[in-house]
């Protein structure tokens, strides 16, 4: 197959393209058409406290609270065969519920082609529900009643969330910074980090991941942290006031706080690896347990 250049194309080389070359060229063009990224932007005028839900197959999600009564989604897909459905309620007037869901237009799309990265801005007062099958979720400055984040293997990072926060991932890590509402965090193999929490009710559970709690205990609050084989580490100011119940089956408790011993409970705990004591006035309740991990309590210098 010959390609002829016009005389006006000065730098054009006359090329001879074989049938195989042509085939490769067409294949490359075809692949490019299949995998070209697409930008999907949607904005909805909402009430101050809408419910916002986003379901994604794969990709990075960032959700931020802002002081506008708008939900704005900026999403990029790797393949044009991935699309976002948006459903809103009610259909007219300020929206009370926005539901966004990534879906495949072609059931044969798989792997990286499923990717949709998304930045979602929501009113501060929004309640948010995020499901990202594969990929990380970062959520910030959301003060709605509920925030729920789930992923199969992605990391979850939640900063300045003031409502009830529920975070669950199987293989990813979870980091929760400055939460002030009720917190529940679960991972199977990932680590969980709580930084400067002011929540009154905080729970964390990981099977084999490590749990770190860093910050002070709030008077009247309750903290329940549990692992199977992962370690639990508490780093808090020396003046922290709490009642500690630390239990392990085969692990150990390594405590650097000066605790006032409490009489052992009459519960049928046959394991000897437990520590019950009070630090200062004992204003917060701290319950730590691990089957075979080490529980460490250290004052924050």
């Amino acid at each position: 197959m010959n390609v002829h250049c016009s005389n006006r194309m000065k730098n054009c080389r006359v090329a001879q393209i074989t049938p195989w070359g042509g085939l490769l060229f067409l294949l490359a063009v075809g692949l490019n058409a299949v995998a070209s990224p697409a930008q999907l932007d949607k904005t909805f005028a909402t009430t101050p406290n809408p419910e916002v839900a986003l379901t994604n197959l794969r990709g990075k999600l960032v959700i931020r609270g802002w002081d506008k009564e708008l939900v704005k989604a900026e999403c990029t897909t790797l393949s044009p065969r991935v699309e976002v459905d948006a459903e809103t309620l009610p259909r007219s007037g300020p929206v009370e519920r926005v539901q966004l869901a990534a879906h495949l237009l072609d059931p044969l799309v798989a792997g990286e082609d499923e990717t949709m990265d998304c930045v979602l801005e929501v009113p501060h007062g929004a309640s948010v529900e995020i499901r990202n099958r594969q990929g990380s979720v970062r959520i910030e400055w959301v003060r709605g009643q509920h925030t729920r984040v789930e992923s199969t293997n992605g990391t979850i990072s939640a900063t300045d969330i003031s409502g009830h926060l529920f975070a669950r991932t199987l293989g990813g890590d979870i980091e929760i910074v400055r939460p002030s509402g009720r917190v529940e965090a679960f991972s199977i193999t990932g680590a969980i980090r709580f930084i400067d929490a002011t929540s009154k009710d905080l729970r964390g559970n990981s099977n084999s991941g490590k749990i770190l709690f860093q910050g002070d205990f709030i008077p009247g609050a309750e903290y329940v942290l549990s692992t199977y084989s992962g370690d639990i580490e508490i780093l808090c100011p020396p003046a922290s006031s709490f009642q500690l119940t630390a239990k392990t089956v085969r692990g150990k408790v390594d405590n650097e706080f000066s605790l006032t011993p409490r009489r052992r409970d009459a519960s049928p705990l046959s394991s000897a690896h437990s520590l019950l004591g009070t630090s200062n006035a004992g204003n917060a309740m701290v319950e730590l347990s691990s089957f075979s991990g080490t529980i460490r309590l250290r004052p924050q210098r």
Binding site: E83, D85, H103, L104, L105, D106, P107, L108, A110, G111, R131, R133, Q134, E150, T152, N153, L170, G171, I188, T189, N205, N207, S208, S226, Y228, S229, K247, V249, R250, S267, P268, L269, S270, S271, S289, F291, S292
Partner: protein
Amino acid sequence: MSEQGHNGLENARAACRQFDLELPAYLEGEDRPAVQTHARECVYCGVLLADLEQAVFASHHLPVEEPPARVWANIRARLADQGVIRDQASGWRRWLQHQILQPASASAGVLACLTILSVFLLSPGDSGLKKASSWLTPGVAPTVATASILGIDKDLFQTLRQMEESYQALETTLDPNLKATYRQSLGTLDDSIRECLKHCQRQPSDALAHEYLLNAYRAKAQVLASALLFDGR
């Protein structure tokens, strides 16, 4: 009842049956004078016709909305799966599509079973949990006879086996990264369960170890639920 009355009733029923047969065509706009004639004579059929005509009238004034594209994709996939339509794709693509779709529909069929398991395993304070939990751990799965001795419902035992099978069927279709995550999570939990079981056999009075055993089973049920409900497609 007199013979004349009986015949009258039979005739009326026959007319109603004829009305039922002709009604769909009449509502589609075909000329069926017998439908209107019978509706005037029979109160019951008259009310029925009035209701249906009202529904048809209202439906014509509803806005027509295009369903999301995924609805069409799903319908097409399902029809192709059932052989109703034939995909234009080449042979290997058709084969691949079949391999992908078949376990998904199978997993949908066992979702109800999964719900039963989850409810059973997640109910707090249920003594049956301790008994049922050992089913889930490879290598310590009880026989039906053992299940019977433990007082476990045989049907539930079978259901659980089906659910595990459905997960295994689903696993072959999962993305490699997801599969690795599920394997790692389930493997970690299985290790915990085995270790707890051994400990509980040695120290049956260790309440904390029992608590960990139950928690490991709960977590495993949640992982399976997540796989079948969230990642099944």
